[in-house]
Amino acid sequence: MGRTSGLLYRIRGGVHPPSSKDLTAEKQIRRIEAPATVTIPMRQHIGAPCTPRVKKGDEVLVGTVIGDSEAFVSAPIHSSVSGKVVQVAPQPHPAGGEVLAAIIENDGEYRRDPSLAPPSPWEDMQPEEIRKEVRSAGMVGLGGAAFPTHVKLSPPREYPIDTVILNGAECEPFLTSDYRLLLEEPDAVLEGMRIIMRAVGARRGIVAVEDNKPKAIKAMETCVRGSGIEVASLRTRYPQGAEKVLIANLLHREVPSGGLPMHVGVVVNNVGTAYAIARRFSEGMPLVERVVTVTGSVVREPSNLMVPLGTGFSHAVEACGGFTEPPAKVIMGGPMMGLAQYTLEVPVVKGTSGILALSWKEARYSEPAEPVCIRCGRCVDVCPMGLIPTYLGTYAHNEKWDLLQRLHIEDCIECGCCTYTCPTKNPLVQLIKTGKAELARRRQHAERRESENRAAAEKSEGAGKDG
């Protein structure tokens, strides 16, 4: 069907930070060895964390399940190396805090677990079987949010899915991992996309790429010829790759407030996820490695690496020649939404799309002690959700909870455009995040109190009957 235009429709806003992708855009994905020990945390996705299925002293192989959970919104975790479990203990996690992790001594042989075999051709499988396979492979969204993929692929019957969007926008500056996959493995990516389409029963498939990546668009266009899948080129603008923005721009549908893409008949998956799914079906490989862009002005040789999960950040940086000067800030992910790290002794997890090191000059800017606003309206103009970030920031700062709710703080996708653009360096998204968290806490608290009250009321009623 060829190219779909990415004309902006109804949705507006967004910002245009310098892309900085040229550092790694031309760097072919390079596979690196895992270090002598890998640290694989039991929490790698949104949802229920896994419980360890191995203990100290156990032998594991590449692909051995080392953590799993009974919960639906969860995905198992596999070993990325063969060797011996030396410890199961809390370890620093790149998403913050300490998380139970299996530390595995790498024997360097990468023996594969014999139970791993490619499943039957997916064309012969029922959607239900495909979903099972995807879950058992431990697939989660590799764009950074890390939502278990099989959950996305299991929309309830009331919400028929007509379209699958493959998200290749990669709108965060610096990151090039999806771009490289589109260029180097277009066939596998496409295969993954078709598996997803079968799993959800979608007729229409769109590969969406920002128009600053013409080579990737070209590669995909050649690939999709005759398959009925469309390639859409999107206007380059952050946060073009945010699910809700993507759906609005491509399909002119808006995901309702509080809803999910499936409520408008859409499933969005990341390029890396599609690639990983394809490899599961062709080689039987579960999710044990991923592409990570290691980049920044202080990295000696910025690169795109295929990294075994559990590899320490410092090891990945060493594989890129180390730093030219001590970085001021190290970020997991991109500069707009990534998480600042306080140590490099954290492992690459399923959601690690990039490791970005910034110099002192790049990392420094002062924030006002008190949020200051000159009412320039820039934050309002750039908010893709149509919110009024300056009010949200002020009300969160002043703890005006009911006003925050009235202004729909929960619709904020935390893209950070408002903070990026503010001339007074008002930390808007930070204030909004704090406000959201506090509101959620209050809601939970209220619910708990209500259920306690109800229980107490029931009890006294029961007591009354007895007496």
Binding site: G258, G259, M336, L356, I374, G377, V380, Y420, T424, V429
Partner: protein, 348 residues
């Protein structure tokens, strides 16, 4: 590795290099040509007005911040800009001390009393001007220059205009036009010169070298270029200005006057480009800005046609400033995901 030295902060980790000072400096740069040109046309007296007004504005900011033990923020250039804008809205021959008091009033009453930058309701420069205008109306009327003094064209049409300007006791061409248009007081007399021709004789001087108005009204062309510069550098949006000027033009045309004249004469352009677009005193959202611009146009038109005061722009902006909180409250951006059926679908 240099651990413990890594900066921890929340995203985003990059920022747009824009800041308050840069914004102010862009506006000052946009005003620079018209300011320099005005000094050339009006000479020394305008320079004293300019200096006194800027000094007053900066002194007002400085003393209030010192007095309240707040950090002094003269380096953000906002007081400088307020003083400059104020000077441009005053007659060139105003006594310098009136300009100085106006400057002081602008930042003290117009800005710091409300809590400083970003908190004021009314445009500080216009507050300063209003204070001086109400306190010393005589100096204002007498402060306007005559074309003869500057030696602009000596044509017959020009003399007619000058006669009208004189009858309006030295006021701006806008005041003169009221007389020209009003058959009962017009020196030209009823059925004299056709209206279109009378108005159009003003076009060229208003665009290129207008000696009759305030300091900043010296050239409509330079003001327009300044506005284009600000829109191109994304310092201001186009909506307020375009809807303001457009509304005035439309209403003027409908009521049978010459719209072009009413755009070029008086404070409309400087007001629409530099005053109405002031961040703090205009609505936040784009849709609000459209409503605000239209409102400004209507009020300006009403004041110009139904009051004796040709200073419609200043009062229109101050009046609409007062309505901004209301506009902000009721006119919000269209929120993403407000799709009725779909929202219901989620709920069920």
């Amino acid at each position: 590795m240099d651990e413990g030295k890594l900066i921890i902060s929340t995203s985003p980790h990059v920022r747009d290099p824009i800041n308050t000072r840069r914004i102010m400096c862009h506006v000052i740069a946009a005003l620079a040509p018209v300011t320099v040109y005005a000094l050339v046309i009006h000479g020394l007296s305008a320079l004293w007005v300019l200096l006194a007004s800027i000094a007053g504005a900066m002194l007002g900011d400085f003393s209030m911040q010192k007095g309240r033990r707040l950090p002094v923020t003269l380096d953000d250039c906002s007081a400088l800009l307020t003083g400059l804008l104020l000077a441009l809205t005053m007659p060139p021959k105003l006594p310098w001390w009136v300009a100085g008091v106006a400057g002081l009033a602008a930042t003290v009453l117009g800005k710091q009393m409300f809590g400083g930058l970003g908190h004021n309701i009314f445009n500080p420069a216009l507050v300063g001007r209003a204070v001086a205008f109400v306190s010393w109306p005589g100096y204002f009327a007498a402060g306007y220059a005559k074309s003869a003094a500057i030696g602009i064209a000596n044509t017959a049409a020009h003399k007619t205009i000058q006669a009208a300007v004189d009858v309006a006791s030295g006021a701006s061409p806008l005041a003169a036009m009221k007389i020209v248009y009003d058959p009962s007081t017009s020196p030209i007399g009823p059925g004299g010169v056709p209206r279109g021709i009378v108005a159009s004789t003003y076009y060229k001087p208003l665009l290129l070298a207008n000696p009759w108005g305030c300091i900043g009204e010296v050239s409509a062309l330079l003001l327009i270029l300044g506005g284009i510069y600000l829109v191109a550098t994304r310092v201001i949006g186009w909506r307020i200005t375009v809807f303001y000027v457009g509304t005035v033009a439309a209403l003027t045309a409908i009521t049978g006057r010459d719209p072009l004249f009413y755009i070029l004469a008086g404070g409309l352009l400087i007001g629409a480009v530099f005053m109405a677009t002031d961040y703090t005193t205009s609505p936040l959202a784009r849709r609000g800005k459209i409503v605000y611009g239209i409102g400004l146009g209507v009020v300006t038109w009403l004041l110009r046609f139904w009051s004796n005061n040709p200073e419609g722009v200043m009062f229109a902006i101050l009046f609409m400033n007062a309505l901004v909180p209301l506009i902000d409250r009721y006119i919000m951006p269209r929120r993403y995901g407000r799709v009725k059926e779909a929202e219901e679908a989620v709920r069920t």
